[in-house]
């Protein structure tokens, strides 16, 4: 099975070479047969990659330690779920997952791209094939997961205990679906540049892919944040770690792309900008892959450091980013500019959104790369952390968030800020009330905290206002409103839901940072501690044995009003194979808030260091992310974006498109 997987991988590489060359030549010479090769090859390439991945997963599931990668990252005593997720809990396997998802997206274009102009489809698949070829070559030459060991070891070296968690089953696949999903937008852009032609149907194709990728990336980042929050035991949800930034930058650029693609689709303006953003977004995904996988950063994500890999990915990075930008510089001027609009209009608001988001992306990029550049040039080592990003990213984000509710209420072409403001009066009043209530009635609320809560409420109320206005609030009877609400385009609902989710996330962040409390103390069995109105009694440490670890489990009784109201356990785990200790934090969710407890070292006198946090509304941080995902999903269900829908519309209009299918 392992050799089958290895062989399938080599075949998939060979097919990716065919996929990158044959359709491209076909599109250039106008040979339909050559162009048609792309589709079946892409689907077969995906099938082979899937076979290869299955072979590796089988080796992991069956603890086949004759495979070097399995030996290094698995153990026969691990629970089955971690044996399987361990497939991508290492460098080689995670790269295989990367190309699996890449070929999956390529196969989707091949399968559902029947209504695309033949040359565009051929070019898209060819670019997709190029990316595939580069990464297949990378895997085969520097990170082959199928290397055998002879003689085979009897036992494996265990998966990094930090990764032995359900988070590994969810976070990387979601993140990669997002990261790699942007490759489709990239391929469409490069294909448009190769053809020198771009129209609204192009945007209609690119927007759903952007939505899909953005949705998964949002989920991947939110899940990664929650995982780090409960697994690391530090109680933080975002550390501005370069590895986190690596996924955040494509998200910011992707958010900008999502918005500019709307302008392009509806008004066929901002074509060139949208194209550039699509290229930049995937370039940032590639940069993220480089930062995380090359070993320039030491982190839990850099499974192993091997300079050859770094250099190889750097070459891929240079080739694709440099190549696509050079092509852009050469061909962008041949694309026709789009429609005109007044600065104060929906388009204008979306341009402003793009300006804010791209500059914010740039500051994150500088903060992430500057320490690396400085070290390479002067040898000086600095760390750029939260204080830097608070000062740069913060001031750029706050005004953007403040103007979000205006955007959807402005008309296309020429909007009326005054009318939009009048409609937002109620939302503004609610937000103002939130500021006053927070400032006056919550103890220890700073001005910033009150304004932060107000901003979050403003976002939520603004999103609801948008829906109310579009359902005809104020002018129509409730029954009519309800009917209109039900008839609203799904994309309008999706927009409102995504903006609402953003508000919820912000509310969670502000509440946790400004109203959270923290205590560090030593406790003996039987002692109690109070935090933000909750009393905890330490019951003691109880040793337990897991499948591949032993642990000291600290049990805490949660007492409210004198009655036991639940239990929190936090444990120190010892994994003997890697001689590694991990902390399992104890979390109790009370409403939307959480009580978070982390166990420290045991003293000689039997006392234990305990770190306790009260985190009000903290679950909203990730809950807001889920709402944003739901918004994206709802938008995807919009009639005009549904896969297949463009064909029904485009056929009658085909005559109007200058170079339609002939």
């Amino acid at each position: 099975m392992v050799e089958t997987g290895h062989f399938a991988l080599v075949l998939a590489f060979a097919l990716s070479l065919v996929q990158m060359l044959v359709p491209l030549v076909g599109a250039r010479t106008g040979n339909r047969r050559l162009m048609a090769v792309g589709g079946p090859v892409a689907v077969t390439g995906f099938a082979l990659t899937a076979l290869s991945f299955t072979a590796l997963a089988t080796a992991y599931a069956g603890s086949d330690f004759s495979v070097a990668s399995v030996w290094e990252n698995s153990h026969s005593l691990q629970p089955m779920i971690y044996k399987i997720t361990g497939t991508w809990g290492n460098h080689e396997g995670s790269m295989l997952l990367w190309v699996l998802i890449l070929t999956f997206f390529g196969a989707l274009v091949a399968a559902f791209g029947g209504n695309l102009p033949a040359t565009l489809k051929a070019n898209v698949l060819a670019v997709q094939g190029m990316i595939g070829a580069a990464f297949f070559l990378f895997i085969l030459t520097t990170s082959n997961p199928f290397i055998r060991l002879n003689p085979a070891p009897i036992e494996g070296r265990d998966l990094n205990p930090i990764l032995q968690d359900l988070g590994l089953a969810i976070h990387p696949p979601l993140l990669y679906l997002g990261y790699v999903g942007f490759s489709i937008c990239f391929s469409f852009s490069v294909a448009a540049l190769i053809e020198g032609r771009i129209d609204a149907s192009w945007a209609r194709w690119v927007r759903p892919w952007t939505l899909v990728a953005w949705m998964f990336l949002t989920g991947g980042i939110a899940m990664g944040s929650y995982w780090a929050y409960y697994e690391l035991g530090w109680g933080g949800f975002w550390f501005w770690d370069p590895v986190e930034n690596a996924s955040f930058m494509p998200w910011l650029a992707g958010t900008a792309l999502l918005h500019s693609a709307i302008v392009m689709e509806k008004r066929s303006a901002l074509k060139i900008w949208t194209l550039l953003l699509a290229i930049l977004t995937f370039s940032l995904s590639l940069l993220g892959t480089f930062l995380v996988r090359s070993g320039v950063l030491t982190s839990v994500h850099a499974f192993a450091t091997d300079p050859a890999r770094g250099v190889f990915i750097l070459c891929i990075l240079t080739l694709f980013i440099g190549g696509s930008l050079a092509l852009f510089a050469l061909r962008a001027s041949t694309l026709t500019a789009g429609g005109l609009f007044h600065p104060i209009s929906r388009e204008g608001a979306l341009v402003l959104n793009n300006l804010f988001l791209t500059t914010a992306t740039a500051t994150v990029l500088v903060g992430t790369l500057y320490p690396l550049a400085l070290e390479a040039i002067t040898g000086g080592k600095i760390s750029v952390g939260a204080p830097f990003f608070d000062l740069t990213f913060g001031p750029l984000m706050l005004p953007l968030l403040a103007i979000v509710p205006f955007g959807p209420l402005l008309a296309w072409k020429r909007g009326d800020v005054l009318a939009a403001s009048q409609r937002l009066m109620a939302a503004f009043a609610v937000a103002l009330a939130a500021v006053l209530v927070t400032g006056l009635f919550i103890d220890g609320a700073s001005v910033f905290a009150a304004l932060g809560v107000g901003l979050a409420v403003w976002l939520v109320a603004g999103a609801l206002t948008d829906l109310a206005v579009k359902s005809g609030a104020g002018s129509a009877a409730p029954a009519v409103m309800l009917r209109r609400f039900a008839g609203l385009p799904r994309s309008v609902l999706g927009t409102a839901l995504a903006h609402l989710g953003l508000g919820l996330t912000l509310l969670g962040i502000v509440a946790t940072l400004c109203f959270g409390t923290e205590k560090i103390l030593t406790m003996r069995a039987g002692e109690t501690v109070e935090i933000s109105g909750h009393t905890l009694r330490f019951e003691g440490l109880f040793p337990q044995k897991g499948p591949n670890f032993t642990e000291d489990r600290g049990r805490f009784l949660l007492i409210s009003d004198g009655n036991a109201d639940g239990q929190i356990t936090s444990a120190k785990r010892f994994y003997p194979v890697r001689q590694m200790v991990t902390t399992e934090s104890g979390i109790s969710t009370l409403g939307l808030s959480q009580l978070y407890l982390s166990l420290g070292d045991e003293g000689k006198d039997g006392s234990v260091v305990v770190r306790l946090w009260w985190k009000p509304l903290v679950t909203l941080i990730w809950g807001g992310g889920l709402v944003m995902m739901a918004g994206a999903a709802l938008s995807l269900l919009d009639r005009r974006l549904r896969v297949g829908a463009p064909s029904r519309r485009r056929k009658p209009a085909a005559a109007a498109v200058p170079v339609g299918p002939t």
């Binding site: 007044h342 600065p343 080592k381 560090i520 770190r611």
Partner: protein, 147 residues
Amino acid sequence: MTRKQKRLSVIIAGLAFLGAAAGLTFYALGQKASYFYMPADLAAATVQPGQRIRLGGLVEKGTVVRGQGATVGFSVTDEQKSVKVTYTGILPDLFREGQGVITEGAFGPDGVFIADSVLAKHDERYMPKEVADGLKAKGVWQESKSQ
């Protein structure tokens, strides 16, 4: 507005944004970035009490003292010089004597480094990159430590 004016206004707005962002970034890099030092580097550098830095090295053997409550004292060494550090909180799971560590904080007036965060290795195989590089530069690196 004509196409030309529109384009010009977008470009000007874009430049204004970039300018503002660049200004903020330079200011923040000057003020908020914390530099990394090994104990022996501190003699040559002028680090004021209260200035945030990252201090890295090995946790000197036999220096870890558990004090009052959750406060821990230990020394960070690069086998040439060592610096006393105090930290209140939970030490990372991989914090051990003789192992690489990075602490972040500032010197108090008495010359003791008051750390507010302590980072140890990410897993049993790797030492923080800064510490490994620093030790290599000082010639006290032994390859066996990386394993």
